[in-house]
Amino acid sequence: MNVLYFAWLRAKVGMGEERVVPPAEVVTTGQLVEWLKARSDGHAQALADLKVVRVAVNQDYVGWDHPIKPGDEIAFFPPVTGG
């Protein structure tokens, strides 16, 4: 699956996009977060406080128990500040 990071999450992770293949038992957005945090200090810092992180699956806002599957586009970003 394709994972995207925006704004200060991108800065902390150190990249805007990565392709990942998590193990089969990672089936929710929340589980993906835990798995991603083990990949690097940058990931761990970016995803440390989920109160200031939003997640979208295939460009729709979802919660931390939302199912994920191979091929999904999963994006992590801070609360939005446009307009």
């Binding site: 460009q59 806002y61 609360p79 939005v80 500040t81 446009g82």
Partner: protein, 156 residues
């Protein structure tokens, strides 16, 4: 109509094209958002912002804005809706966003325009970074934007 772009736009020309020729339009409400030259909520911190950069999530931005437009049209009788949102580097005073709604009735025009701005503020995936004398600062989301958007939930 939704447009997400780096280029500036001409609000007068947009308005002219928007309202042209529909004799059923009695009122148009437009909101134009600009880059302020000060930080946070304090106008006394003037001239500290050298500009900002708006990052967005291509694809999701358009998808969310279209969903917001659809929602507005389902709530109010609108003849037309226009949302233009810029991204990229913007100088102080630059135009950021334009929302316009056209209806037969002024109340529908006002409410739908206000609704679009409030929802856009909390749902459209844009992020601002302010370029200041002290470095670059990501702008924090505001609680008051959430509560502004939430009032439309109650009215539904």
């Amino acid at each position: 109509m939704i447009r997400v772009q780096t280029e500036d736009f001409d609000p007068g020309a947009e308005l002219e094209a928007f309202s042209a020729g529909n004799g059923k339009v009695g009122g148009i409400c437009m909101f134009l958002g600009l880059v302020r030259d000060y930080l946070g909520d304090d106008p006394e911190k003037a001239a500290q912002v050298r500009g900002m950069t708006l990052e967005h999530y291509p694809g999701m931005t358009e998808r969310q804005l279209e969903a917001i437009e659809t929602e507005a049209r389902s709530r109010w009788p609108l003849h037309d809706v226009l949302v233009i949102h810029r991204y990229g580097r913007l100088d102080p005073g630059a135009r950021i966003v334009l929302v316009a709604t056209a209806s037969s009735h002024r109340e529908a025009a006002f409410q739908s325009c206000h609704f679009l701005m409030d929802w856009l503020k909390t749902k459209a995936p844009f992020w601002k970074i302010e370029h200041t004398e002290d470095g670059d600062l990501w702008v924090d989301a505001k609680d008051k934007d959430d509560s502004a958007a939430a009032r439309w939930d109650q009215k539904k």
